[in-house]
């Protein structure tokens, strides 16, 4: 039987905001061609489209831990569809030096196991200064998976994204 957090996540994946973005090719749940089935809850694998860059993929996969979804922020990192494991640091998307992109997707913090962003609970828990500095990006139960996907999709499609 599905847990309340899983039902809430499933409802958000069925929402107009998620579906409209999926229709545009911005994001989606990893399909059967990548994974026969999604990992056991609270883990989910999603993909996010990225701007075209030489020798870089047109999408990146992320594996998120969605425990207590919506009450608690997700956490996770990039995932490799070929090895079905965490993406090697060398294969992570790279950004312009000192840019916001480079900071959010940094690999020199926590071994690259979480995103350096207020929407990631591991990062948020360690940064009590962030609520004062970035109040609009502090996760609360009004946020959904679409907020995460839009934020990372925007970064992966901005001018600071350099490729691999």
């Amino acid at each position: 039987m599905d847990t309340p957090d899983q039902r809430l996540f499933d409802a958000d994946v069925a929402s107009a905001e998620f579906r409209a973005g999926a229709l545009k090719g911005y994001w989606g749940l990893a399909g059967a061609g990548i994974l026969p089935e999604q990992p056991a809850w609270p883990m989910r694998v999603l993909w996010i489209a990225a701007a075209s860059r030489p020798n870089a993929p047109d999408r990146y996969y992320v594996r998120l831990d969605l425990s207590n979804y919506r009450t608690v922020a997700p956490t996770g990192t990039f995932w490799d569809p070929s090895t079905k494991d965490t993406l090697d640091l060398a294969k992570r998307p790279k950004g312009r030096s000192n840019s916001r992109f480079a900071m959010v997707f940094r690999t020199d913090w926590e071994g690259g196991r979480a995103f350096y962003h207020p929407y990631d609970r591991v990062a948020a828990q360690g940064h009590t200064n962030w609520p004062g500095e970035q109040p609009s990006l502090i996760w609360d139960s009004n946020h959904t998976i679409v907020d995460c996907l839009e934020e990372f999709h925007s970064l992966l499609n901005c001018g600071d994204y350099l490729g691999l």
């Binding site: 929402s15 107009a16 916001r100 900071m103 500095e133 609009s136």
Partner: protein, 179 residues
Amino acid sequence: MADEELELYIHSQGAKPKIAVARPHEVLRDVLVREEIIRQGQDDVLIFVGEWDEALTEADEIEDGEDRHDPVDVLVTVEVLELRRHRHVHVHKCRRVRVEINFNGQTKHHRFSPATTIAVVTRWARKKFRLDGAAGAEYVLRICKTDKQPRPSEHLGELVSAPACAVCFDLVKEITPQG
């Protein structure tokens, strides 16, 4: 196949978008009534379809420009309105949304269609304030006198209500997480 159901995204003022399922031969008004978006006989709303980005082609020297997005006839079918292509339907009392954007002591104005996304307004603002390219990527819109930064996919129509039909933004540099 020709009569295949399609998913529409219905946007209304001050509300989250909803999904409606429609068939090509259905009259749009009937779809909106069935989904309880409008009432039978209601004629005080305007219906726009699609997502509008006309402002992005506006010449830089134009001040206080206005989009030309016309509302559609709600008695026309889903097929004739090409909603398989457009997908988004906006139900609104505002014909235009008057947007004011402040940056670096300057203010720019434009009257946008309610079917304009925040992503388009942001690109328009970066262009008007000459923040194009990678340097402009970190500038985002924040609603004036708040800490709210609407998501790029939100539409202006979801943020405003009649009769004001207006919103003010500050163009701000997004903070890079640190510490």
